[in-house]
Symmetry: D2
Subunit: 343 residues, 4 copies
């Protein structure tokens, strides 16, 4: 059984494994103020070309979203995002548990349009009893999106401009940002995405680290006392160097590039095979996720040898997500491609 | 420079490192429902002799304390603990941030006395305007304590009895529980501590894991839907198997025992050297922590070669904590002992 | 200028004013444990025919909604309601500030359909990663609704049945419940609405009291320690008897009936005049609120003499709410009716 | 039975009762933006000589404390106060429920000393792991204190200076501020207290209003969007004019003065009688509260005719609080004085 269930099923890239061994008996200061973390942060700041940014490592995406949105919005402010956003759908109400309202708008292929932000702000401003409603305070997007699509640089610039105009913070969830850099529709770099937002995070977990997201704070008003906030939220690990090791491993010599590129190439190969076979895609995605619409029979056929982590069945069709990762092998993909051809 | 700064400065025991390599390319289900976690949980349930308990892995102690206390107390209930408790002093108000009040009583060598719990409950019950005050709902202790002392089994039984009598939950923070098992004053086993509490956690981080605490829920009223609570608090790691690996590594073949025993033996050796030299201890601790009172001169002398992570200075004396870990070598300890003898 | 802005613009019914004078120099126990409150609660329990219910007085609707939903849902549970619900739109995110997610479905004339509840529950149960999403825990409706419509008894029974089936709490916001009893579409009594829900509140403010909502808790699992919760939320007034006076004034001799009936009769008269004149209504409401669609010219004409608290303008039309109250006089209504006729 | 149980057992001063009738049929805008509120705010700003301050009315003290401390402290900041402070003891953990930690120091006759604030700040700054502890962010005092003592102007100035030095907000809870103005130990005016704090509130409830506290925000950084915060916390009353009436009634023609003066004179008379009789006082209070230590026999004797709301018994003595109010009559006090003389 070959698994294409998700992009976090394997451990870490070999460079990280080696570092775990290399550093294992070093005596590091606790809570992330060690030299490994310092070096990893330096590498990230170089990669995003933001020498003055603050970088913090947090174990996972939901914890990062919850902390950021709770810390940087006032209690009566809300975060604008699409209805398919991770914070709106798959975090068990973490944002609301942290006291903030999620203000959703309908997605367009997983993306938000600048005019949707504009009209939500205007509705609020124009309301007869403004203070009885939540005030928009932040825009949240994911790059790539939950539907596997990517924002092009121009879209990010336009969102940024609307945010600036209305005094909204702009926050990019980059759980899949590193792989998305190699997606066919992408024209962004880490540096130019970072240049247009107040804060963003680069996901390590889905790019070949064991754990960890690297939060980059650009807006200097948001930097003060952030380690207090991390500690209070249970997000300062005693062995903080563990996360330093992950990001040193990813960014040293741009290691992440070969692995992330590979993950996307494998996904593209699968998409090509599906198209050649005439199997429809639910969404025209370009990251590690492919959303295929099989007949029930096709799905059962593939299920004998491949694991997609389940499917949703509607009117005789099986909607399945096929996911590649940094660890997906040439052999696995070839096996799947062959199987698709034979359907 | 040899460091005795804390018990979380090094990576992990070699058995865990090996497992990281062994499992690196396995395709695991996400979020901790994998076979490694299942096996690690089985090993822990055997170790605590609680086949019906629920076990969950959480990245760190503060996050565990915050989640447990928020989830299992009602909003108007408070947690009773000593004034030196970690939740009262070193978690940046995480418990209050989660909405619960910490009700402190004066510690006796880091410990709480059953009659202190009794009188806090009675004060509440006897109060003229009871509902204007927070209702005691839980007792929190640490084993070993923040001051390096340990509760003996009889003390734990007595606390448990008071809790049962008054309907309080009894929660043991075991960040240093595994090493404390080998402390000279200890007469508890994992199984008998667990038998007397509603829930406790066994710390991996300070026992030789890279991260992770294993929360054991005995009280069946507290088990339902706990994974929702973890997810909502950002505590369900995508690569949950990473924590399974840690605890499989610690508990397989009782690996933790040799490492934890070593950490305590090293600390005992240091304490012996200090006593022989006539250097006073601030507290008669018996875990990996030793609280020495040096003269300023002695401290400066040692500082040239040893790092204790700073000291507090009062009236010409230096109060320093010396900490050993699973990774502390024979050579390091001998060097320190020799230096102490020469003071 | 005659105001039809809302149903809370005047003070209180004369019976309450008299009681304020009568009781002014009595020495009452504080925080609502006085004889006036006791008597008011007794009258309410008789009115709803629920001798075993618990009744609590809370200053306002938003505070009541926030407290109830925070107290009775678990942190990972959400409250299902229509998109036009007060808690979803006009409470500045109070529910989310209290840590709970509001799960909205599209309204049908301001109302929720049983099958919408059913499908939201089923979606959750059937989800691939259930614990990553908020669990439905309560259904919230308003009687009358935000759009001025009323649920008939059968609809309430059906909602109650779906809630029971799926273990959801059923909560009725009755900010306008007393007046709605006299609405033409209504076939409910206080007693039979109360018989089908876990808890509901009867609004005093919009029925002729100076302040206060009477929360009725039927479900015995929700009764314990509720006064702790009130105090903690700043909802136990020192002079609690002030709210006792309001509800004694409303319910003694069924005083509320004549005033609430009058408010509805006045609104019906206005609706009749609008219909006769061919002026469209945005919604076919039947409570104290009438949602008229004027031409811009008609609206300006009326504005010279009547205050509706503003309007929303769309495509040359003015959408205005006309609201009556217990204090609306025959003269005021006649003046408006005449003005409408002359448009 | 004559009651001296508390200072909130009666209704309101006659001037307020008259206003309730006078304004009863006026059509006021909702939520406190009416002319009565505007006028009441104007009168208060004149009384405190702060034309630029913002004034808001909130139903009660606990709600005000909870809102202010939650809104104006960051999540990781704490509020410093004495161990007898209302927020530390009698609000059922409202402050913690709002997510903030209460940092208590030992009281000196109910008061905090500037050097206690200083050393709490210094301890935090000097700590080895600062970000693991809560950061002091505000000082909270009550005027008069829970023990019936008052701060003199010089003490308030000194506290203010320490707060300014360390960037702490200074907040005065004035639940009993109006009566305390007439206490023998008092040398403050409303204006000069207000001049030295960032925000304070003047209690209406205990000064002869039916409900309400008037929050005065001086610090302009705290003014923005405060009505959003009020609404979100359920503290914007629909009939907001009800609170406007209370404070117009208290401050018009300085009405409060004669009533508050009377309340203190009555308490002074009781204290004099106790002293003459040789009955000890637990605290040398000077506000409406007198803390007497009776023998059990004396207490029982008095209990036949006077209600003190219970007593605490220790070693054969009865510790009872005797409380006067604006409504306490000459006759009641004379009866008590006579009874004391006869003991």
């Amino acid at each position: 059984m070959i698994s294409f269930v998700n992009d976090y099923q394997e451990g870490c890239i070999p460079e990280i494994l080696e570092k775990l061994q290399k550093y294992n008996y070093c005596a590091n200061p606790g809570y992330g103020v060690d030299y490994i973390c310092e070096n990893a942060k330096k590498l990230i700041k170089q990669a995003v070309k933001a020498p003055d940014a603050d970088v913090h490592f947090i174990t996972g995406g939901t914890l990062t979203n919850k902390i950021v949105i709770n810390a940087f919005l006032k209690s009566y402010e809300g975060v604008i995002c699409v209805d398919t956003a991770h914070i709106a759908t798959h975090e068990t109400g973490a944002i609301e548990h942290g006291g903030r309202k999620v203000l959703t708008v309908k997605n367009h292929n997983g993306k938000i349009l600048p005019r949707q932000i504009e009209s939500m702000v205007n509705e609020h401003i124009g309301g007869l009893s403004r203070e009885h409603t939540v005030k928009p305070g932040m825009v949240y997007i994911s790059q790539s999106t939950e539907l596997g699509t990517v924002y092009c640089l121009n879209e990010i610039k336009e969102i940024s401009a609307v945010c600036k105009k209305h005094g909204l913070l702009f926050f990019i969830d980059g759980a899949r940002m590193l792989t998305s850099l190699f997606a066919k529709d992408n024209d962004c770099t880490l540096a130019n995405m970072n240049a247009f937002c107040d804060l963003m995070y680069i996901g390590g977990t889905k790019a070949g680290a064991l754990l960890g997201e690297a939060l980059i704070i650009n807006n200097s008003l948001l930097k003060k006392d952030f380690r207090y906030i991390l500690k209070q939220n249970g997000a300062l690990m005693a062995k903080g160097f563990l996360m330093g090791i992950q990001f040193e491993g990813l960014f040293e010599n741009d290691n992440y590039q070969k692995y992330c590129k590979s993950a996307i190439e494998k996904a593209d190969k699968i998409r090509m095979a599906l198209k050649n076979k005439g199997i429809k895609l639910e969404i025209d995605s370009c990251d590690t996720q492919t959303f295929a619409i099989f007949t029930k029979e096709q799905y059962q056929e593939l299920q004998a040898h491949f694991d997609f982590g389940g499917a949703t069945f509607k009117e005789g069709l099986a909607y399945a997500r096929i996911c590649t990762s940094w660890a997906t092998t040439e052999d696995s993909v070839n096996a799947l491609v062959t199987a698709i051809e034979k359907l």
